[in-house]
């Protein structure tokens, strides 16, 4: 192995490869710059741009609203993290109920189907209204009546239905031969699901799952309609007092900053899983 040194021909080829790669990189950079410059020019040369700039991109207003939004965004993050935790659990349980085959679990399957059908049909904003104003009115013992609690509950109920369907599609995408080979080893249906099918299913649905979670992060803003003073409500408050919409842009930036790391994390995770499982397989 050590006595091999690349031939002149190979060195030439490597040079060509490097040149081709450089060319690709150059094209990619140039095209990207071009597109963004053109887009920027279109926006800034539009007739209403000075007005839009004054009302939406005012630096002093951005600075002034920033601290309040910064404080309020933690409420969104808290809501998101709590909701995400419960959504993952509930959604998986619903998905498992829907793929179960035991006759004893029939009622559970029926409930799961009705639940996903009904909940997915209702706009999330309505669920937030119904939960935040309806539930406390029931005066149930031992349950809090804070808008934060019920808005979060509404998000959990709504998103569990979506995420359950994502999990279910993942479970059903695993080839039937995997069921067969696990059951041939003597595993029960439940064990097969737990140890063989779900681990594969979850990997496959990471991208759509991320989609739903990015969506969830943004939908924490719906809590504003229930009277939760989170980031969007804070921004709205500022705009109402100052007649300047810049805080909305600031909130938008916050949401972007929140979702980008999640997206990169998921990309990295999926890439790592692919590398590990497909190593050598072609």
């Amino acid at each position: 192995m050590s006595d091999w040194s690349p031939s002149q021909h190979e060195l030439d080829r490597q040079r060509v490869r490097t040149r081709l790669q450089r060319r690709s990189a150059l094209i990619a950079t140039a095209m990207t710059l071009l597109v963004f410059v053109v887009l920027g020019l279109i926006v800034t040369s539009s007739p209403g741009w000075p007005n839009v700039k004054a009302y939406f991109f005012s630096w002093p207003d951005a600075k002034e609203s920033f601290p309040d939004i910064w404080d309020a965004i933690w409420l969104n993050i808290k809501m998101f993290l709590i909701a995400e935790f419960f959504i993952l659990i509930f959604a998986m349980l619903i998905a498992m109920a829907r793929v179960s085959r035991s006759p004893w679990l029939m009622p559970l399957r029926v409930v799961a189907v009705i639940y996903t059908d009904v909940v997915r049909g209702i706009p999330t904003i309505l669920l937030v209204y119904l939960f935040a104003f309806g539930m406390p009115a029931l005066e149930l013992q031992g349950l809090p009546d804070s808008p934060f609690f019920w808005a979060t509950a509404a998000l959990i109920v709504s998103y569990s239905a979506y995420v359950a369907e994502v999990f279910r599609s993942g479970i059903e995408s695993v080839h039937p031969s995997q069921w067969a080979s696990a059951q041939a080893l003597g595993l029960t249906r439940g064990q097969t699901l737990r140890h063989v099918i779900i681990p594969q299913a979850v990997r496959r649905v990471v991208p759509p799952l991320l989609n739903d979670f990015v969506s969830l992060q943004k939908d924490t803003a719906l809590a504003a309609v229930a009277g939760v003073f989170e980031a969007v409500a804070t921004a709205r408050d500022y705009t109402l007092y100052n007649f300047n919409f810049t805080p909305y842009i600031v909130v938008a930036c916050f949401f972007i900053v929140m979702t980008v790391p999640l997206a990169r994390l998921c990309d990295w995770l999926t890439a790592r899983m692919r590398r590990r499982e497909l190593a050598g397989a072609r």
Binding site: W4, P6, H9, E10, R13, V16, R17, L20
Partner: protein, 243 residues
């Protein structure tokens, strides 16, 4: 007549692991070259390099007089002239057998649907798959799937056919029906390079047999010589194990 395909000093490594080391090979029109050797000897990698599915680390590959190992070569144009069949069939499960067979002729070669279907049906019929044309691959037996994969490769009228252990995943009783097709193609003059574990078949159809060992072609010759009087001790050992 100059060779259809030549390989000279081919080297391929994955990181530290050298998979092909100084491999040279010449394939004339109508040749049937059988690559034999134990698993991991580099047979599949060699076939994949010929089809530009792998970037090589050194050496020159020419096809029809043109160097194809040049990075500026249009790999798609080359592949449209080379057919390849894999061990795991790799039929597209969402398409019917007929659609599998007409995809490349229609999308790559610009053949119109009626003509592409006519040719595919004719080939399917010749290989006993006329009744399976409208089915999806998963409804077929392994042997039928692999025959369909062969038909798919032949539908584009390739100049060269690469077969990568196409019977390795099949039941012994199904191997025959697949090899029958290969045999028919060979006697019809198709140029082929194939990796195989079927020694009797190799002895039968090969114009030349290459024994690969640890990434090198240790020995090459007509089947009559390789199988009865191998020059190398390694070849002798390998044949003793598989025959």
């Amino acid at each position: 007549m100059s060779a259809l395909l030549t390989v000279e000093g081919l080297r391929k490594s994955y990181g530290e692991k050298v998979v092909l080391d100084d491999v040279s090979l010449s394939v004339d029109q109508h040749d049937v070259i059988c690559l034999i050797g134990s698993s991991g000897s580099g047979k599949s990698t060699l076939l994949r390099c010929l089809n530009l599915l792998e970037d090589i680390d050194d050496g020159i590959i020419t096809f029809d007089g043109q160097e194809i190992s040049d990075p500026r070569v249009d790999a798609r144009a080359l592949r449209s002239r080379i057919g390849m069949v894999f061990q795991a069939y790799n039929l597209f499960p969402h398409l019917t057998v007929l659609e599998n067979c007409t995809l490349a002729p229609r999308k790559v070669h610009g053949v119109r649907r009626p003509e592409a279907e006519e040719r595919a049906r004719e080939l399917l019929a010749r290989f006993g798959l006329a009744d399976q044309a409208a089915k999806h691959p998963d409804q077929l037996s392994g042997g039928q799937q692999q025959r369909a994969a062969l038909v798919r490769a032949l539908c584009t009228n390739p100049t060269l056919l690469l077969l990568d252990e196409i019977t390795a995943a099949l039941d012994p009783e199904l191997v025959g029906e697949v090899l029958e097709i290969v045999r028919a193609e060979a006697s019809a003059g198709m140029t082929m390079v194939l990796a195989t574990h079927e020694m009797a078949f190799a002895r039968d159809v090969a114009t030349s047999v290459c024994f690969l060992h640890e990434g090198r072609i240790l020995e090459q010759g007509p089947p009559s010589q390789i199988f009865t009087d191998p020059r190398e001790e390694r070849t002798r050992q390998f044949l003793a194990r598989v025959l």
